[in-house]
Amino acid sequence: MVFNSVAFIIFFLLTFIVYWLIGSKNKKLQNIFLLFASYVFYAWWDWRFLSLLIFHSTFSYWISTRISNTDNEKSKKSFLTFGIVLSILILGFFKYYNFFAENLNQLLFGIGFKSSLVTLNLILPLGISFFTFKILSYMLDVYRGTIKATTDLSEYLLFVSFFPQLVAGPIERATTLLPQIEKERTFNYNQAITGSKLIIWGLFKKVVIADTCAGYVADIFNNYHLYTASTLLLGTIYFAYQVYADFSGYSDIAIGVGKLLGFELMQNFDKPFISKNITEFWRRWHNSLSTWFNDYIFTPFFTRFRDYGNKAMYMGIILTFVLSGLWHGASWHYVFFGVLHGSAIVVETALKKKRKSVSKKIKPWLYNNLSMALTFSFVLITWIYFRANDMVHATNYLNRLFSASIIQMPGKLQYLPWIALLILWEYWQRKSEHPLVLKGIPTIIRWVIYITMVFTILYYFGQEQAFYYFQF
């Protein structure tokens, strides 16, 4: 069930009504009902994988309880290792087995052996990368003592499978979500209104901007050999806004749905395209994933090997981004995307002092704008590797992009106004809590805007395009 479907709207309306009819006095029943709704939401897509989700979360509950109940440091570590290994094996089997088998076969063939590891026809369980990361962070947090293990199975299961963020994040931590599940939630009118506006804004970005944009992007990327370099450049910009509108739209809907149920979920995006360097970009883009990698991969790695100084830091950055690339998909072009971003951050870190002294010599507005342009250009180019079907496709696209036809008039300009609208709107509302606050606008006009937006969404509704990040 995707957020932009009629099925979801009916599902959510029913959930919303029953949930508040049960009422906050019956918190336990409310939680069990939410868990049931989350399982229906997941089973709607493929009921067979529901058992995997239930098994994986129940297993991690058991492991975490064991970690928490023993005082013996050694057994704590053994339970944690067991939990991590099994979680990674599950994720690894569905997501990386074929990648591993193909590459091993090729490698063995290359050195003269005939290997016959068969590749399997596997379906990637929806949201597996997201909920596995939630489970891993919970076990690690319990082990580190950041949180106490919960003793309520249904509350823990709800933490893992809470439907607004089950299949594409934000990858919420137990430290912020579990306390909200444990306490009573009361219906708050203002919170519900903000939630509804976020859903409208999210759907607008997804259905009107991203889905329409996707067609242009697919055309330009698939038929890149037929287009001028300038059109290919436009294609990369379209892709940037497609994936931004798609994923930040999804996050807005998730946060909005959460608010309607009395939950506050974390922000995942913060105007990523105004970043002045790549380090900042990853703080503004899919923040829940970046902080996850920072807390559970980079920081422990750098802490452990800190005596090696900068070498350990640079190694840690590259390792983190290679893994982050792989998290997106089992393919070399994702790994390369990660290596490019990791390298950029290594260079930025190495030149930190130099950059600071340069920034003092140039006018701030010039330095800031140049930094923003440079960062955005880097993101555009590396995203070719993200969007392409494979490495060869990306390289061919890039070769053609850097050719003489860059000075020709680009084709496919007709989509540009939508992107301009999105940029201008977000700039206009940049100081508001979200882009539909519209403070200082007369009520009548505000309502005209909301209704126009809803009708525009309905006009474009119906194709039920999956969200881009569902594939990860």
């Binding site: 920072n294 807390d295 980079f298 920081t299 802490t303 800190r306 100084g309 830091m313 002092k353 600071k356």
Partner: protein
């Protein structure tokens, strides 16, 4: 060494690692108060502090530092 003396000794280390001459440390200073103090420079700070005071922190101690006061307390425990 009392906390004030420790903070006086820590200040030049922070200024150097974070490359910011305007830093004024107090017991309650946290990473949120200093723009340059991020997860990356946090560990660089730890390395510099370990060198300067000839101490070694455990990873649990490092993760538990919430402000400069915490850091001072742990250093005091180590150097006695």
């Amino acid at each position: 060494m009392n906390t004030q003396e420790l903070i006086e000794k820590l200040t030049p280390i922070f200024k150097d690692v974070l490359d910011n001459e305007d830093i004024v440390l107090t017991e309650t200073t946290t990473a949120a108060d200093i723009e340059e103090w991020d997860s990356l420079s946090h560990i660089q700070l730890i390395v510099a502090v370990e060198k300067a005071f000839k101490v070694k922190f455990t990873s649990i101690e490092i993760a538990a530092f919430k402000n400069v006061g915490d850091l001072c307390k742990t250093i005091t425990q180590k150097i006695g």
